[in-house]
Point group: C2
Chain length 478, copies 2
């Protein structure tokens, strides 16, 4: 092919993919009022450009917005100005807002990435409400999709999770939708398209929350794949399509069982009759995720093992906590499965009694055991960030809860130290500390703490020694 | 953990995973007679060792076999002797066979990998029949599984294909089964287990058919993943479990529609009524793959696009070829979908008329067009291994078929050359040549040929020149 042909091919391919995506997934209909999230980077610039082109042949109206995160000083300002000018050039109404994300992150004890995401989506929601818009167009591309799918594969995922970035989904449990019409176009094509059409854009250095791992994949893995499997990004589009169709099949199936989900106050309940139906396990698994992610709108990830454990450990009798995290508490109540938000004010609600051998807490699988010292005297009792060993001779019950401000631990027979000071000693970032898990006994004495995979410490009062008869072991397995 | 604990942990983990896999997927039952495929390498040695251990607590009988491929001279012999001795040590009956795979490959025009695989599985089948065994145990491990899943992801796959290596499947459409009890254990754990137990094994340099790409992934990609995502191999086990359950759900659903599949002579037919049912697209897709892979037992891979094209282009009228390859021919016959084997003797059955714009042939998606010279005079008409341009002015119809011995092409106005000689000039390996596609016209004149992504040539008689009025274009798109 000569240059002209190559150029025409590329332009046509980008536009066709864009149009096909809109059609195949019914992303837009007549009368839609679309908010474009415009960062000024290549992706969102192309998104705005193509939507503008599309608008002229359909009956959709457009609106653009830009959030200045104030994270990169002059560069942030430059992006905002660029976005405003570009929207004006296209003749699209535009609004921008500036937020000090850093301060917000400090205040809410979030990582910068978490904070930026929260602020951004709240801004989108605000604009959509104020301007009465019903679609939010976001410019994720095929590189993002591939990296997310690969990242999920490496970190562990199920079929639904493998979809990675939904091409269309409801926004905050409302009837407004998030759409991603560029999801099947590579970054390279996007940039070439803009350059061939002499359309300017800024280089955005912003990144998503899984920033570091994503950069790792992008810089170290993708170039190697590119050499060996030149079409690998395009190749996953089929898989995506198949997954999408299958997921929709499952969701349609699921909707047949809506009557088994009951809302009670702020809680949701899956009635025990549901789990006795002769339906497939994949559907039961999705029912649980569906209640958490869609009905309650909680962004909590339960592992496959946890979900299966919940399904298989449901019993018609008693009440028992099956899963507990900062975000959600799941317990069985005479066979019904109850989902509730952990109440931050009620201290007792936030603790669990360590009596099960295997249980889930805050997204980790734990094993808890009380062992006789004889059984295990060959073991090395040094606690690690994945396992606590402690003297369980004198106590009857042990409990678990999240770290609270003011928690102290015995570092000697009669000297305590604040956990927060220990965190400072070990340079644990502030936003990470909240995941620290504290073990305490029936007298509210702190036995030890564990910040999974980072740090752990056992109280001097609970050290395993020659007088120990029973050893408590709390281990992360998942 | 100290060394002893580490060691016990590893031994326990390997054995637990082995037992859990057998239980979870019902790999073995009382009375089973199991053939162990013993290469002498770490994987199959552990497989034999653990099955022997398992046998003592259950009611299963074991038999081992070894195929000497004669590919590595003394090393091949060493492996055979080692395997015999190891089986004797365990007290397991053993049989071996030597085959000259290289000659077999030459004779059958197969690649060494294809030939080795064919010979190996025929040997397994033979032993199982002779000794009346009902299970074949093969020692694929978690590294193999991960690499296969990643490879499929990069090369393009659907949900069913993502499973990669089935932990259990029927063997050659019989009631005997292939089982893989080590599928969730890493290579590293396998080797450590053997070393800790002082069990000897040989280093096998044998590899599967996707050898080069697999080696590439193993050597270049996996070590990078290992650093960043230490548990990545274990993490895909959940996905595998989920995929497995979902696939079984789909297969159970599919079995409800068995009455729509009819066998007629050697052909299979999906009745047109099936495609009019109000059932989900994923099920329709699986129906087509199921007829090909399970009913007919053909190892043909149709792309997602091809399958969807077949479904959506079915019409109640006429008869039309929808897909054609060396392995299978699929056509619609008044709305029924017919699957048949291409008959190697009937020449006409093996040709297709080029009349559609887009069609599939031998696993590639093609586009065929007749363009007016005016329309396309700016294009560069040089044919490439993905696109043939030829003078279509004088002919009414063009056809496609596979290369046949003796095919010749005009390299000048009155001088022809054998295709086989052109292959020699370009050093095309013998086993690859069979995929060459030849275009010819209604007078049986050869217009040109294309060996996808390798080589193409247009007959001098069909060169595009200043007298050309219509240009034929045959392009690979998929």
């Amino acid at each position: 092919m000569n240059d002209l042909e190559l150029k025409n091919n590329l332009l046509e391919k980008v536009e066709t993919t864009f149009l096909k995506t809109i059609e195949r997934f019914s992303l837009l209909s007549k009368g839609d009022k679309v908010l474009i999230a415009l960062s000024g980077g290549a992706d969102s610039v192309l998104l705005a450009y193509l939507l503008k082109k599309y608008k002229d042949n359909s009956q959709v109206s457009l609106f653009a917005c830009h959030l200045n995160h104030s994270l990169r000083g002059n560069e942030s300002l430059r992006d905002e100005v660029f976005s405003r000018n570009f929207a004006r050039l296209l003749g699209i109404d535009f609004v921008s807002k500036t937020v000090d994300v850093k301060s917000f992150a400090m205040e809410k004890k979030l990582s910068i990435e978490e904070a930026a995401r929260k602020v951004r989506y709240e801004f989108f929601e605000e604009v959509m409400r104020e301007k009465n818009l019903n679609k939010l167009a976001i410019a994720h591309n095929l590189d993002d999709l591939f990296e997310t799918m690969l990242y999920r594969l490496l970190k562990g995922t199920g079929v639904s999770g493998l979809i990675g970035i939904p091409v269309k989904r409801f926004f905050y449990n409302t009837s407004t939708e998030i759409i991603r019409p560029l999801l099947f176009i590579t970054k390279e094509s996007i940039v070439s398209y803009l350059k061939l059409n002499n359309i300017d854009f800024v280089f955005d250095s912003s990144n998503e929350d899984i920033k570091f791992s994503r950069n790792f994949l992008r810089k170290n893995i993708v170039p190697l794949f590119e050499k060996r499997f030149p079409f690998f990004k395009e190749r996953i589009v089929s898989l995506y399509n198949i997954l999408w169709d299958e997921e929709n099949f499952w969701l349609a199936e699921l909707s047949k069982y809506d009557k088994f989900v009951v809302k009670e106050g702020g809680d949701f309940k899956i009635l025990k009759e549901f789990f006795k139906l002769d339906i497939s396990l994949p559907l039961k698994r999705r029912m649980i995720r569906n209640v958490i992610n869609n009905k309650m709108g909680i962004n909590a990830y339960l592992s496959f093992d946890t979900v299966d454990k919940i399904i298989f450990s449901l019993k018609d009798e008693g009440s028992r906590v099956l899963y507990f995290s900062k975000k959600i508490k799941i317990y069985s109540n005479y066979g019904d499965l109850v989902f509730s938000l952990p109440d931050e004010n009620q201290k007792d609600e936030n603790t669990i009694l360590l009596c099960e051998k295997r249980f889930a807490f805050n997204g980790f699988e734990f094993q808890f055991d009380i062992l006789s010292f004889e059984e295990v005297k060959n073991l090395n009792f040094k606690s690690t960030p994945v396992c606590l060993y402690f003297d369980a001779t004198g106590s009857l019950k042990f409990y678990l809860r999240f770290y609270q401000n003011g928690d102290r631990i015995y570092i000697d027979q009669n000297k305590t130290k604040k956990l927060s000071d220990i965190f400072v000693d070990y340079k644990v970032p502030r936003f990470k500390r909240k995941n620290t898990i504290v073990v305490f006994d029936e007298n509210n004495s702190i036995v030890g703490f564990i910040l999974p995979f980072v740090l752990s410490r056992v109280s001097k009062l609970f050290y395993v020694n020659e007088n120990t008869k029973k050893v408590g072991m709390l281990k992360i397995c998942g």
